[in-house]
């Protein structure tokens, strides 16, 4: 019997077309966001072209800008992954900053207590304890979710508040740095610091996160766990009927998210600050969520989107210096990109329906 076989995948040409089609909303969203922000900048009495040039070129003008951008890229990528991985299973981890803070706590605890140990022993311990602390912190929310069906959005958000108090207590009571002005801990031992490369120095955490991103993207696409994660996110009931332990997948996804949040905290301590201080979490949680959503949960897209956001974040300061536009304008820009992206989804869906209708009418005529 001869059978006409269908294609396993669309042709290369079709895939390029699909990709271009998918890119249109992004392009429109970015353009739209920049236009609105231009109006705001004008209204504030500054020159938008000057402001945008400062924002967009700062990272690429010299090596300092690029190193700054990559340092920013590290926590942004990790927190975006910490949000996107549970999102794959339909769970919302809004606890990235709590997990980052606990990661930092784990790292400084080891980094201060065993400050005399040599780097080859201490540095791995610092990173691992940071990751484990993040795991424990997210694990609490995951356990409450699995055992008592407590909504993970609530528990992760509330655990963030708890983490602020933990940080405050450690930095002002347990290991306070008497010489510092605010809530700052003592520095970690020299052996706990991440080595640097290049000039200006860039900590090797950047390379570590690059590796983590690649592994995460490959596992999401190829591994059994990645497939089960996707299956649970697509249809939890069908996944369960076909032998996927959906509750366990959800818990593991939260815990992996916590591990990545913890790693972010550990790298901030070991690579950037060499101590823990109030505000170490910056606004990475919010930006991580924005990145995860702009990437539409794709772990492959997350590092690229995170890089774009890092460019904007690093450029913000330069923009304020050059054109006087306040740094917060960049956050408006980032929020608007996401907003316009969501809106353009709706618009493209409408356009598609209209196109189908027109072609049906044309067929009638």
């Amino acid at each position: 019997m001869t059978q006409t076989l269908v294609a396993a995948r669309p042709t290369a040409q079709d895939r390029v077309r699909t990709l271009l089609g998918a890119a249109i909303p992004y392009v429109l969203a970015v353009i739209g966001a920049f236009l609105v922000v231009a109006v705001i900048v004008l209204a504030l009495g500054h020159n938008p072209l000057e402001a945008f040039r400062a924002v967009l070129t700062n990272s690429f003008r010299n090596e300092t800008g690029m190193v700054q951008t990559l340092k920013k890229w590290v926590p942004l990528t990790l927190l975006a992954l910490a949000f996107a991985i549970p999102l794959g299973a339909g769970r919302f981890n809004i606890g990235g900053e709590g997990q980052l803070i606990l990661g930092a706590v784990g790292s400084v605890a080891v980094g201060i207590t065993f400050s005399e140990l040599p780097q080859v022993v201490l540095l791995p311990l610092v990173l691992i304890s940071g990751v484990l602390a993040g795991v424990v912190w997210a694990g609490i929310a995951a356990w409450l979710m699995a055992q008592f069906k407590i909504n993970e959005i609530l528990s992760t958000v509330l655990l963030n508040f708890v983490s602020f108090e933990v940080l405050d207590y450690l930095a002002s009571v347990v290991w306070p740095d008497a010489g510092a002005g605010g809530a700052v801990t003592l520095p970690i031992g020299a052996g706990a610091e991440l080595p640097t490369i290049g000039r200006p120095p860039m900590h090797v955490g950047v390379l570590l996160v690059l590796l983590v991103s690649v592994v995460a993207a490959v596992l999401a696409r190829r591994s059994v766990g990645g497939f089960e994660l996707r299956a649970v996110g697509l249809n939890e009931r069908a996944a369960r009927v076909h032998g996927v332990r959906t509750g366990r997948v959800a818990v593991v996804s939260m815990v992996v998210g916590g591990a990545l949040g913890g790693l972010a905290g550990a790298i901030e301590v070991a690579g950037v600050h060499h101590r823990m201080l109030e505000g170490i979490q910056s606004n990475f949680l919010l930006l991580g969520i924005i990145i995860g959503l702009i990437a539409r949960g794709s772990l492959t897209a997350v590092p690229f989107v995170a890089f774009g956001i890092a460019v904007l974040e690093v450029g913000a300061g330069s923009m304020q210096r050059v054109s006087g536009t306040p740094v917060e304008t960049v956050l408006i820009l980032e929020g608007l990109i996401l907003l316009f992206l969501l809106m353009s989804d709706y618009v493209t869906a409408r356009l598609r329906v209209r196109a189908a209708r027109t072609s049906a009418k044309a067929a009638l005529a």
């Binding site: 396993a8 995948r9 249809n235 009931r237 032998g243 332990r245 049906a360």
Partner: protein, 525 residues
């Protein structure tokens, strides 16, 4: 009497009857899909008119246009010779059209009477008397004071019919009304339909079962692929001819089992030559129970012994624990008791272990339980075997895609590519993907729940052929179905599920539909 002709005295000219309903050139498209392509449909007064066709033929769409639920792209509707414009069900009711859908729109905590009068003006009327009178006249036995949530499906359907009659319908449209009715209830319904026609109204019976139209209709119109095919008087046609018209050029299975299952003929007329199942018992179920959070168990002490190659068909009215039974028998839901397959105990083990042992479940709700709608066909075919096919925790997607392409060919899935999202396929093609996945597991115990619901004739026949091929290879098959024709045709043994218990036991050839009907409603339990 030729029923398509007018009754003497009803019409002025007497010889050529003006039709009660005439639909001309109705066209309806949904995006690029042409659902109705210039359909003409005429119903004479005092006629039960069968609207016959497979799933997807456009029967319900046509009647939804008549009832004002869809606005046609083109075409004209005449009632009693006058062109009417119907843009909402309200217009349709005013024009004398009543329609009973497959899913009832009823307010559960309200009484029968309240549901019937809901939305009408009751001032100066005595609704209860009127309802009692209608129910008496048409043999639609209901208690006007009963709350509808307490009533079985058959009675709730009568409430829907009463609603239409109460609003003065002279043309009553019933959409697949026999689904979920016992044979006794079907008989009662057909009697009421005849009574309605005797009072001067007309009834349109939407169905895919030829046997039903031959039993109750005066004339029938066959539709196929959104087109009108033919309109014939019952006296001038036969079941065979209708079947050929309905299927069209598509290859017809000459097989008696398939004809019975499709409702083309009754089991008594067909001679079913079936290979006997083997002797060895493969599946033993004892005391299988699914406790409910409160109240009686959802599945209650099921006992079964199934031999190699045996097909067990389980009949029942929906909502008697079918889903729970199916899930408990396939390990998709925790249960107590025992189920052994080839001697190995499976109860208490994880769902994945059941799958590995060769227990495969084809769920009733394909979209909800069967597929990952956003996943492509390849991913859907991998689901369930993703662990056993992985090496070092990684899935070989290239190999999976190649297998998907072969399965698509073998199972005739109509799709542009293996990378198409499963949720974009039609119901029949989704079921083909699910079956392709099920048989790729090389099942030893295969359970299918309502496997042909909503499928067109070609897909339905395909499913029956696959089921019987699996049994011929020695697989134990359990078919849980609300379609009695299907149950009787496929089952080597037939049992009934009622309130979570399995009752009755009929060998092939000794199945009496009425006896099944009594068990299904708990009368003989």
């Amino acid at each position: 009497m030729n029923p398509s002709q007018a009754q003497p005295g009803t019409w002025a000219d007497g010889s050529t009857s003006a039709p009660l309903l005439a639909m001309h050139g109705i066209r309806k498209t949904f995006g690029p899909v042409v659902a109705l392509d210039g359909v003409d449909f005429t119903v004479a007064p005092r006629q039960v008119h069968g609207l016959l066709g497979g799933n997807g033929a456009g029967k319900t769409t046509l009647m939804n246009v008549l009832y004002g639920l869809y606005e046609p792209d083109a075409g004209r509707i005449e009632i009693d010779g006058r062109t009417v414009s119907v843009s909402s069900p309200r217009d349709a009711i005013a024009a004398g059209v009543g329609m009973v859908h497959q899913t009832f729109l009823q307010v559960d905590p309200f009484t029968v009477a309240e549901n019937v009068v809901l939305g009408t003006d009751t001032r100066g009327t005595r609704p209860k008397d009127r309802i009692a009178e209608l129910s008496e006249r048409f043999g639609l036995a209901v208690d006007p004071g009963a709350r509808v949530e307490t009533l079985p499906v058959g009675v709730r359907q009568r409430v829907e019919i009463l609603k239409a009659l109460y609003r003065g319908a002279k043309l009553l449209v019933l959409d697949e009304p026999t689904t979920n009715l016992t044979p006794q209830e079907v008989d009662d319904l057909f009697t009421s339909m005849r009574a309605i026609v005797d009072e001067g109204m007309s009834v349109v019976l939407i169905t895919h079962k030829i046997r039903e139209t031959m039993a109750v209709c005066d004339a029938m119109t066959v539709m196929r692929d959104g087109r009108w095919v033919t309109t014939v008087d019952k006296a001038d046609t036969s079941a065979d001819e209708l079947a050929a018209t309905m299927v069209g050029d598509a290859a017809r299975s000459g097989d008696a089992v398939v004809r019975v299952a499709l409702g083309e003929e009754a089991a008594g007329e067909a001679s079913l030559e079936i290979p006997q199942p083997g002797r060895g018992v493969r599946v033993r179920v004892s005391g299988l129970t699914v406790p409910a959070p409160s109240g009686p168990p959802l599945v209650d002490g099921v006992e079964l012994e199934l031999r190699q190659g045996e097909i067990l068909a389980v009949a029942g009215v929906a909502g008697n624990g079918q889903v729970e039974l199916a899930e408990a028998l396939t390990g998709a839901r925790p249960a107590k008791g025992s189920l052994t397959l080839d001697g190995a105990e499976l109860v208490g083990r994880r769902t994945a272990a059941w799958l590995d042992a060769g227990v495969v479940y084809v769920p009733e709700d394909r979209q909800r339980d069967g597929i990952l709608p956003g996943g492509d066909i390849t991913e859907n075919l991998v689901l369930g075997s993703h662990r056993s096919r992985a090496r070092l925790g990684l899935i070989d997607w290239r190999q999976a895609r190649e297998q998907a392409v072969r399965a698509i060919g073998e199972y005739n899935v109509k799709t542009p590519s293996a990378a198409t999202a499963c949720g974009q396929l039609s119901g029949g093609n989704i079921q083909r993907v699910i079956l392709a996945r099920a048989f790729a597991h090389d099942p030893k115990l295969l359970l299918l729940h309502n496997p042909t619901r909503g499928l067109d004739i070609a897909s339905t026949t395909f499913v029956y052929d696959r089921i019987r091929a699996a049994a011929a290879r020695g697989c134990v098959v359990i078919v849980v179905s609300e379609d009695l024709d299907e149950v009787i045709a496929l089952g080597d043994r037939v049992k009934v599920v009622y309130s979570g218990r399995l009752i009755g036991d009929f060998e092939r050839g000794y199945t009496d539909p009425y006896e099944l009907g009594r068990l299904m409603t708990g009368v003989a339990a």
